[in-house]
Symmetry: C2
Subunit: 361 residues, 2 copies
């Protein structure tokens, strides 16, 4: 491990397994299906680990990811409102051999998907994306959801499977999450009541997000959840109170390359390794968390340089030393790597390809 | 082109050629060698284009990039203070078949490189990295540069080739750049005078950066420059006054995927396509510039969603429409793609691999 070139992404298998099991136990207790979002790892091996720990299927953001993940899973949710030619034709093709669902928020998406699926003689499940307050995608009212659901139910080749929501705006500490989720839950229930009165089925009510994962029971209508980050964790989930430092499974290992500027050291992890993402909860905490140098802050990034303010360190990292960084947001960091190193239970490192990175639509 | 899956990176060949030629003409006028930084494109084909337009050699940030670029260029500068085992052994190996130089700022780097190069029976050129005010890497005083230069000159297998500087802190509009560069130039001259008195050679004085490229004659000691971004340009060089919109050769082409939130549309380019880099010159200008919708702002990114505030647009982009985005910083955006599309003089698109992306050290 000490000879691996830096910067590299190192994932601890025991921690990953513990994180997967903890969520599986919670979900079983509350009779929720788990459909992990594979955008976090984009790895077939880690998807298989999630499926072995009881995941119902997988979630993806890109159709290209769905195509890759189809080799290990035949139950896929594309959490993206596909409506363009490249996506709809690829989805239709995939739906011939796997159970595929898409979350949409427009009639245009429904019609484009139906046309592609019809041409491919396949069938597609549709979830209606309902906005619970994030204001990104999702129909804006229960009435609008009913309108779109009716349209889907009447469209050949599409099967109305239920509702989809993403409470991505709920990032506050757990005590505040409760109130926000209860409000979101009421909107969900109101919507489902409207659908029931209209005779429309909603066998699936799909929720999501790692920060809210262990509060999902506050939204009793949910049938499944789609967290992604929970498998690795990062400085966002750490500062957000979702996990402890022992639950952080993924670190960037970097080397100190220069220490000529007083009060600073330079590591070989810059924005092409850590991304420029700030911490959601502490925007002044720098570009990652240094578990072995908690008095140091990554204050500035170039593409291949990370600048650490070590002026408050009793003993700053030495030139040539390796340091560990927990990134603010692990998902785009994994996406920057072609492969990651997985440390197994015996401490051996195995190279794991990030199978589904670098794909277009 | 209209059928290519989105989001994709589209590069216009005619604009690239014009950008390369303009810099080549300036450099020839001022007797400067051009050693473009290949980190911007990481493409063998575009490196060859730069070499054809008169570039003396190539600059890289990573040893992995150097190894890839060695297939089209035998004169490489590694602008990174390599001192770890992975880098020094790879550099030593590369130096057996190509002319390789490394810019360093520590005795540890000199000694580690010399040991590796000695073991490989090769020779390595060394430039001493002198900080001109960026405060990232580089020895801090002319005296410190002399001390390190003497050490290098006395170390077997190393050849002292001169000075290296990176005025990356000079990002102001051209009228202010002049003063900052004149101050930097004085420090450079003072250092070179000290070396001369000590009998140390400096045949190469390597400067850099796209923002300062056309002010390089204000630093008359420079023998070569190392701009990277100039080939493509981006919203940073646009807002910085370095180029016009017609000089922007690279755009992200994205599709409008959702428009249910009043005043917003959502495109399929998020932080995994545009990065989270803010504009250096206008931090409130959002995550990229929309040349066809100048009243729209990319206000928030998720990994695969870009949220556009279109409330000030007379006619916002329609659902399913393709929009062009000039990223704030093109280099890390290219690094996110496995391939880019090059539009040739006939308007045909060719897939070009980003050959040197995803490498470690």
């Amino acid at each position: 491990l000490d000879l691996l070139p830096t910067p590299h992404l190192l994932v601890d298998l025991a921690t990953v397994e513990r994180n997967a099991q903890r969520l599986a136990d919670y979900a079983a207790r509350h009779r929720l299906a788990v459909r992990p979002h594979a955008k976090t790892h984009k790895s077939l091996a880690l998807a298989q680990l999630q499926l072995k720990s009881g995941a119902r299927g997988l979630t993806v953001a890109k159709v290209g990811e769905a195509k890759v993940m189809a080799s290990v899973c035949d139950d896929l949710l594309i959490a993206y409102p596909a409506l363009d030619h490249a996506r709809t034709t690829a989805i239709a093709d995939l739906a011939r051999t796997a159970s595929v669902r898409v979350a949409i928020d427009s009639q245009m998406a429904a019609d484009a998907l139906a046309a592609a699926v019809g041409a491919a003689h396949s069938t597609l499940g549709i979830l209606i994306d309902l906005d619970l307050g994030m204001r990104r995608t999702g129909v804006q009212t229960p009435e609008a959801s009913l309108h779109l659901a009716r349209h889907v139910a009447q469209t050949p080749h599409l099967r109305l499977d239920g509702l989809f929501c993403y409470p991505g705006h709920v990032q506050r500490p757990p005590n505040q999450q409760g109130e926000q989720l209860t409000a979101a839950s009421q909107l969900l229930d109101e919507t489902l009541a409207l659908w029931r009165r209209a005779g429309l089925p909603a066998p699936i009510v799909s929720g999501g997000s790692t920060p809210t994962a262990y509060q999902s029971h506050l939204m009793p209508s949910l049938t499944e959840i789609r967290p992604g980050t929970y498998l690795f964790n990062d400085a966002n989930t750490l500062y957000g109170g979702f996990c402890t430092i022992d639950d952080c499974a993924a670190v960037i290992v970097a080397t100190v390359m220069s220490n000529v500027i007083p009060g600073k050291v330079i590591i070989d992890a810059g924005s092409k390794t850590l991304t420029s993402d700030l911490n959601i909860h502490r925007r002044d905490s720098g570009y990652g968390y240094l578990p072995d140098y908690t008095d140091a802050t990554i204050t500035r990034l170039s593409e291949e340089h990370g600048e650490l303010d070590v002026s408050r360190c009793q003993q700053p990292p030495r030139l040539g030393e390796r340091v560990r960084v927990i990134p603010n947001h692990i998902c785009p960091c994994v996406n920057l790597q072609s492969s990651l190193w997985l440390r197994d239970h015996e401490g051996q490192a195995h190279l794991l390809p990030v199978d589904a990175r670098g794909l277009l639509s």
